[in-house]
Symmetry: C2
Subunit: 207 residues, 2 copies
């Protein structure tokens, strides 16, 4: 059904709200009617938080992650191994890996993946600064942790070509069957790779 609003203010708010990906006009209306049932303060707080973030947002000048300071906490932390860099797409990947507490190196946030379909080329991503870090000679290993899609693989390969001559170690995060998953439900490609890339049994005894 088309939406015929009785209020221009309402229509305008729904219009703005439905510009988010995955939020249609109906969902936007539902969210906004919810706001109308809450204290005025809640709407004002939301608006302030969004505008403040958008206008004051900073990115770490070393790893390009979202940060409130010039250098993010991870880049400032002298206990981390600065010679290992994990290359990720965005802040969500950093948060996911940090959450495992298994990684003590640094990150490099590309800000996306090469995707000609979406008009994203290498020049739109933080690739040059990564290559510069490698060229400066203080990096031992680059870990590729992009999602294993066509765009992710393309991006990995593009970066690999740029750094391969510097003779540093490169690796990808392991792909395989999730811990706790049944083999019969795994997709063929993942199961195939997990057999080819099988690991010494002793590795599975570590936590």
């Amino acid at each position: 059904m088309s939406l015929d609003y009785s209020s221009k203010l309402l229509e305008n708010a729904v219009e703005e709200m439905s510009r988010f990906p995955g939020i249609g006009k109906r969902s936007a209306l539902r969210l906004i009617l919810h706001l109308l049932n809450q204290d005025e303060e809640q709407t004002v707080d939301l608006a302030k938080a969004l505008v403040k973030l958008r206008t004051e947002i900073k990115f770490c000048k070393n790893c390009h992650n979202i940060s409130d300071s010039e250098l993010c906490e991870i880049c400032q932390n002298s206990n981390r191994q600065s010679e290992i860099i994990c290359v990720v797409e965005d802040i969500r990947d950093v948060m996911a890996i940090e959450n495992t507490q298994q990684y003590k190196g640094m990150y490099h946030v590309l800000g996306g993946k090469i995707s000609p379909m979406d008009g994203v080329g290498p020049q739109n991503l933080n690739i040059e600064s990564l290559v510069n870090k490698v060229r400066d000679g203080k990096i031992d290993e680059i870990i590729f942790a992009l999602s294993s899609t066509m765009e992710g693989d393309t991006t990995n390969f593009y970066i690999y070509k740029q750094i391969q001559d510097y003779g540093i170690k490169t690796s990808s995060i392991a792909r395989g069957i999730s811990v706790g998953d049944e083999l019969e439900f795994a997709d063929e490609i993942t199961l195939g790779r997990s057999i080819i890339n099988r690991q010494p049994f002793e590795n599975s005894l570590k936590s």
Copy 2:
């Protein structure tokens, strides 16, 4: 996984965004990262639209629908039948019925349903003004169009008790099998009601 933010600004924005029903921390983060990839203007426009709506919102003094003026367009329209009132829960129901172009009467927006579980009693809804309209003697018919849930039925019955002595006509919107639906997939209660409340065949020949 718990979310460990690298930015207080980001954390705060995600916090506010996830106060919407049905939007968790992860969805909120996804929406906000989207905003960061758009022009600053989009965030400012969204924030302005929400605050402007919330602070300047008006409700029609006659039917209680959201409106930009004292009386909404429907209540102002002298071509509509002011002696018939359709009782609905919120603006979405008004929009849905208006969209059918089959109704030329007025509305009365309750603003919710009686729901003791959610702390909503009759005094929280626009019921008194509806009863007053009936008492004033200018109403011929009340059409109940709340959803047929326990709360909807309770609310209908509560209102019915208040107005039954004024001798006006009361009706409910027809419940039955949706146009185009197969009988075999209909639920028993709806199918049962649609047989009991069968209509003269000639009615189905109208558009």
